[in-house]
Symmetry: C4
């Protein structure tokens, strides 16, 4: 296979973060607002975890993308400032982490436009990247995004190579992801959350890094893109932060092209035959 | 025990695949059609994963059986062509991955006849093998299959040695399987799928290979048949494909007779005292 | 602590088996009778698994107790004969694996009397041991058992040392157990079973043996009784049978007193100050 | 970071225990009272497990805090006496392990006052520490506690450093915890409990200690407080008790300041700039 990554590298690594804060709880059930402990666990992400992650990214000189629901961005402006100060990209992730397929198209448009407006105000430029909250979209999502200048999204799971969505003249690049490279399912426990307990077995760091490394190496075999989807309330915990360090080190060891969403988007669009 | 496998081998290994694509989602709940990401994860199987698996099978010179819902076969003709070009067998797996016990007998007959007709057209010969979608059947399934020329099925879990079903003069061979040698329960995550979240803890490759190897070795002790039941949307992922390579290598190391469904069926029927 | 086991041994090991067959499925929901594959998985226990277990017990010269629902005993008389021929004890485990707390007291009496009658006929002597199906009882169970000559039960989890239940002059010895030394939760998968999917993550053999060994060694520290609760449809699988061999070998290595239920019952009742 | 722990130590370790006994079952569903085995498993905690834990704490000279629902304290006075005799602290944990957010404010006040009264009678002094049952509180809980002289609680998850709650002049210190350092989710199995089965995969001791150690070490990097939340019915089991020994030894090895709740509370309040 002819590698398509800068410098002849055979794999790209995209270390991305979804800074969901308490929004994921409020979006699924407003009653969670009355659960101070459940909310506090989620608040750990923007209060503490994001800073731990930024430290690791700075230490290893990695530029990343943080997809931030704008309700969280407004509630924790310091976290957003720190992300921008670190040279990272801000991406769309809904306003209140709304699951797009549960909205009407009009509601979905309002969420996208509102979150574009807020991120633009906070960062001084319009966001070009997006990841769908809860990793699900509606049949209208891609068109709504592309019509409003969004250049890439990172949610689909049917490829390990970037590709353009078919959108009748509109252009939206996909930077695919997959559950195996998402920290949530290996650790997230929120047993009192409404509407239903949220319980995953907490796997060891070795377990998680073993799977992420295997996915990274397997994607290298086909010249693709490895997308890590981490959450500061999970990977920002003291016991877990080392998994981020280890997978970044591994990507460096195998000479992956480490880049954030906008860099990958720019590169892919610069190729002679994008696709 | 007197070994009953060719060349005096003491164990047989049947590496089989269920190419479910999006059909498993549509069969359990039509609302899944409106979930592009959930569907894209399932589409990875026939779009990408199946080719990764075919590469490994070609590399290790293994002939296999792919059980394919005919809705998937029609939607992804390229995948079917690649399977046939690799010298593999096509087997029945419903049309839309319908769970037989939830159909009326008339509906079940229609599904079987339709899927036989489609596979016959695509491959130029009638299928002789079958595995039940969701690993469940109705009390009528075996008779319906045998009456229509199906020679073997591979779904029961009450033996590790092939055996003939009791069907009043009809002949249907069972190539038994078991959950432990199925990749799904060690990896499948589809949290947004209707009607209910589908979440399994993702185990490491070492974990999975350890169990498959133990089952293979244990079955060798009794001269039986090891049936691997893999899904391209699971084992075809970059992080997982190595498990297939490793279990095939292990089967070769212990000198297993590696064969696909029709070869095992032919061999078993050629024995002096089939049973 | 003053060891209370024969020969001054500091721990006893009771390797017991619940031969549930299909009864556990029929007891929870009669619709399971219409699921041939789900039933076949359960049938593996009395059809195949029990013989694998008997082989290991014979090989390692262990005398054991098999708690058998009498519906299973009548359906698989060959399994019962093989258990008795191996010198093992038969114990009560309901007729159709009925959960005692869901029965009226009259129904519970009928089940106990029926299963005593059937086991007596099959083995030539009345059973003296019992384990409650599903590891739950009603407030009346212990009295019902003791009034009918049952001398011990093995279901409680509040001790690691045998003890007598308080029953107003009746005598019933408890041989306690615990979930950690039960094979079911580490392996049982029956996703199509009514009324609800039954899914446990399948752990590796090393995982399981590590926990059983730790429990055995921890119980030795307090001079107690280690009770293994295995199911032929689980531990009798080819991949799992080695866990039984390994834990028995470990018990021998640490010089445990290995005995079945009736031997432990007889020993405990022979102590100067039973308690 | 300027370490804030005595002797210039860079991390504190708080080994705490929730002695829930059967109260957790009765609080969620009174029908559990009719399940003798399910209740017996829970009773193992105050009957046996707590003594095993006290042995380890004595052996390693650790002073700890036991949060005890007062219904359990009254039912098992011997356990409470042993805790006090070991020099440990008693903390509030509801009367019947009531989940505060499901109570009216009046009911919550009654529970707090009743449990303060009972613990005061049993120990001769009013309790100053609290942990919320089920790790959830109501919006009123902190104020209710602080108004009644409680000085610290240990339930929030949004920090790894102690902090004071904002309570309009009232003073309540938080000693934060997190699910990863709670033994329950790695082991608790109670499949027959009402209103729903309670099933967690039982992880190995190495698995659990690996995560606890990583959390402890990670918290040391930020000079924080590691809070272990163990349950005698879980960690007091023979197979599990070694995890407690190992994590305490590890804390000693890295020179953590090992203290109980009241000691940490006193130290933090003595700092020049508490916060």
């Amino acid at each position: 296979m002819d590698p398509t990554w800068p410098g002849g590298r055979t794999v790209a690594a995209f270390f991305s973060f979804d800074l969901d804060g308490e929004a994921w709880l409020l979006a699924v059930d407003r009653r969670n607002a009355e659960l101070p402990i459940t909310m506090s666990q989620a608040a750990y992400g923007p209060k503490v975890g994001v800073y731990r992650i930024l430290d690791v990214l700075a230490e290893l000189e990695v530029r990343s993308t943080f997809f931030v629901p704008t309700w969280v961005a407004e509630r924790y402006p310091g976290a957003v400032e720190a992300i921008l100060a670190g040279g990272h990209e801000l991406g769309l992730h809904g306003h209140m982490h709304e699951r797009p397929d549960l909205l009407s198209e009009q509601e979905e448009v309002e969420v996208v436009e509102r979150s574009i407006r807020i991120l633009t105000e906070m960062s001084g430029r319009p966001p070009i990247g997006h990841r769908a909250p809860v990793a699900e979209i509606s049949p209208a999502t891609n068109r709504i995004l592309a019509e409003r200048g969004v250049q890439y999204t990172s949610t689909y799971m049917d490829s390990v190579v970037p590709y353009f969505h078919n959108l009748d003249g509109l252009s939206l690049l996909e930077l695919p992801m997959h559950w195996v490279a998402d920290d949530w399912g290996f650790a997230m426990v929120s047993p009192n959350a409404y509407p239903a307990p949220h319980v995953n077995p907490v796997m060891t760091n070795d377990h998680v890094v073993s799977l992420w490394s295997a996915e990274l190496e397997g994607i290298r075999e086909v010249g693709g893109l490895f997308t890590l989807v981490n959450h500061p309330q999970v990977t920002g915990r003291p016991y877990r932060i080392d998994t981020l360090r280890r997978i970044i080190m591994h990507a460096r060891d195998i000479d992956a092209w480490i880049a954030n969403g906008e860099e990958i988007n720019a590169h892919w669009r610069s190729l002679p035959t994008p696709g």
